[in-house]
């Protein structure tokens, strides 16, 4: 064991008593795996730009529950699970029955996944049968409330949709204050034939937080998975999104927007695997980066042998607001089938000075003109956020002006 990780081993001993007995042995194995692997560092290719090694000496204790009213974040016409520091807040939740301990996972060789598996508290466990639909959007509020000493919490979630089942789910990560805090979340998604899932993952963490999320989705025949990911917020965030189009005719659409505030570090790693023929994938990530922020995007598309007639598009567009801003964007394409259509493009640019000058010549001050252009850039992704209240909140959080909704034809 890496001696630096002793605090995690100790934390586990205190934690294990609350875990359901049948899960304890497996979790201890995952702890040992984590202790052996240690946190990933820069020499690991997948973590080249996001170094977690300082977390080793963080001496995080398991966060205790806290109370905080999250009503300001509630979305109308949704059912809700509210977690604060990993603990379900029953008074603010309306769908308690969907929260449960989740056992078993098949991700090995990944230190963060192992850490999560060892310590994971109950999370969303949604299982829909054939043709089932959830009546209302499910809003999962995941709030971190900093404590006097560095605290951590880990959660595991699962979404299983049966044949032709449908659901819309919002994962809403909210920081309630500055301070050292570590949170990991894993989400397993399994879509049976013809199932449809609309997922939102949005984040507004605060300074000092480390948020590590990992989504693994497996898509069966003709299923449809759409994910919109929006990162504002501060702190360090790393998101892994792995999608496997396992059977013919599956479709995935991923849209992402990141706009870190100064001091923030946001790392998105996506991996879309076309493992069967006639799959379709669309991916669009947009980033707005200023100086003193760090953003990483790595998007891998893999077309396996036999995944003929794959139709895949990936677009990455980044806007650098300052000469000193930096983004590490890396699209990767691996194609092992010959009858496929794959397009990808990555751009890095600056705000259009000519457009800015034009707006100013009409009397619009520089700050407003800039905000209008940033909104225009971000809209392509933000407009995909269907719940209006969520879209409005994200706009505000990203300091983008509200739309005019002027209808001159009326």
């Amino acid at each position: 064991m890496n001696p630096a990780l002793a605090s995690y081993a100790e934390a586990f001993e205190r934690f294990t008593a609350v875990v359901p007995a049948p899960q304890r042995a497996a979790r201890r194995e995952r702890l040992n795996e984590f202790l052996k692997l240690g946190f990933p560092h820069r020499k690991v290719e997948d973590w080249r730009y996001t170094d977690l090694s300082t977390l080793a000496t963080g001496s995080f204790i398991n966060a205790s529950d806290a109370t905080d009213s999250l009503s300001g974040a509630f979305l109308p016409r949704t059912d809700r699970l509210v977690y604060i520091n990993g603990h379900l807040d029953k008074t603010q939740s309306t769908a308690d029955e969907l929260s449960d301990w989740i056992a078993g996972d098949d991700v090995t060789g990944d230190a963060v996944a192992a850490l999560n598996a060892a310590f994971a508290l109950p999370g969303l466990n949604l299982k829909l049968g054939r043709n089932a639909t959830i009546a209302r959007t499910l809003h999962i509020v995941i709030a971190g409330h900093p404590q006097n000493s560095p605290a951590m919490n880990h959660q595991r979630h699962r979404i299983e949709l049966g044949e032709a089942a449908e659901a819309t789910i919002v994962f809403d990560f909210i920081g309630l204050g500055d301070g050292a805090h570590l949170a990991t979340h894993t989400l397993d998604i399994r879509l049976a034939a013809g199932a449809r899932l609309q997922l939102y993952r949005v984040q507004n963490e605060r300074a000092g937080s480390t948020l590590l999320t990992r989504i693994d989705a497996r898509l069966a025949r003709d299923s449809h998975f759409e994910a919109v990911c929006v990162d504002g917020g501060s702190g360090l965030a790393r998101h892994d999104l792995n999608v496997e189009l396992a059977e013919p005719g599956a479709e995935v659409i991923v849209d992402g927007l990141f706009m870190p505030v100064p001091g923030a570090h946001i790392d998105n790693h996506t991996r879309i695997v076309h493992a069967a023929p006639h799959g379709r994938s669309r991916e669009l990530f947009k980033g707005i980066v200023d100086e003193r922020t760090r953003a990483v995007f790595n998007g891998k598309i893999i077309v396996r042998p036999g995944a003929q007639k794959t139709d895949s598009e990936q677009h990455v567009a980044n806007l650098l607001l300052s000469r000193r801003a930096e983004i590490d964007a890396k699209p990767e394409l691996e194609i092992y089938a010959d009858d496929v259509k794959c397009a990808h493009g990555a751009t890095v640019g600056q705000l259009d000075e000519t457009a800015l000058a034009y707006l100013r010549s009409r009397g619009i001050d520089a700050a407003t003109a800039r905000a209008l252009l940033l909104r225009a850039f971000a809209s392509e992704v933000l407009d995909k956020v269907e719940p209006a209240a969520l879209r409005a909140r994200l706009r505000q959080q990203l300091n983008l002006p509200a739309g005019d909704s002027l209808d001159i034809a009326a």
Partner: protein
């Protein structure tokens, strides 16, 4: 209203305007003609405050205020409008958004509250009619997918909506067919009033058949080399500019 004295201006370190004098009074329409490279567009940009167009000497006052010290947006709020020769496309920012932001910027500058949405839309709709622009096009991005003629008409629409006191139109007539030219001229004429002034920068006499100028100036080599009445434009159309440049 506008008083330009001995204006020198450089673009990328090269002197383009070399001692230009021009006085425009309220109620007047001035036409500035001249050969390519004379500095006509530069004059518009310097007046509007475009970055990279620096006045190196001389003075410009607008209603007694030193125009050259003001930011482009304050110049616009003061009542200056430049119609661009090449209007830019701004996908994602609709024409209505631009117009509303511009209207409200002026109102804020004058210390009054934002315009009501219904008043704003009625105001724009009425002016779009003059310019024969389908209001539906205004929900699109600024000039996005507009033809050359539509872009120019859109510039004049912006002028009509914003009601500037001094309008400078930089070759708004170039590239227009005769119908579009008439629409543009109608728009410009609609704005003529005793307390407003217009400066038309143009290559051709054609526009001046529809918008009668009070004064015509010839800009060559960075200076006004000749001024006269509307008859000067006709003379230029016949003789070209060479005889003036040689003089």
């Amino acid at each position: 209203m506008l008083e330009i004295k001995n204006l020198h201006a450089t673009v990328h370190g090269k002197e383009i305007l070399k001692g230009l004098d021009l006085t425009v009074k309220a109620g007047e329409v001035h036409a500035i003609m001249g050969p390519n490279g004379a500095g006509k567009s530069t004059l518009g940009y310097v007046l509007a405050g475009r970055e990279g167009y620096e006045a190196s000497a001389g003075s410009v006052t607008f209603d007694g205020k030193d125009l050259l010290t003001l930011t482009p947006e304050v110049r616009a709020c003061e009542g200056l409008f430049l119609g661009f020769q090449y209007p830019v496309e701004i996908p994602g920012v609709s024409n209505l958004t631009l117009l509303k932001a511009a209207v409200n910027a002026r109102r804020k500058y004058r210390g009054i509250g934002e315009i009501e949405a219904t008043d704003f839309l009625a105001w724009v709709r009425e002016r779009a009619k003059i310019m024969k622009i389908d209001p539906k096009m205004l929900s699109r991005g600024v000039n996005e997918g507009f033809s050359g003629g539509e872009k120019k008409r859109n510039e004049i629409l912006q002028m009509l909506v914003l009601e500037p006191r001094l309008t400078i139109l930089d070759e708004t007539d170039s590239g227009l067919d005769i119908d579009a030219l008439k629409i543009v001229a109608d728009g410009v004429n609609a704005m003529r009033s005793p307390d407003r002034a217009t400066v038309l920068v143009t290559h051709y006499q054609r526009l001046l058949d529809y918008v009668k100028p009070d004064f015509v100036h010839v800009l060559a080599g960075g200076r006004i080399v000749r001024s006269g009445g509307p008859e000067l434009a006709i003379e230029l159309e016949e003789k070209g500019y060479a005889w003036l440049e040689a003089a």
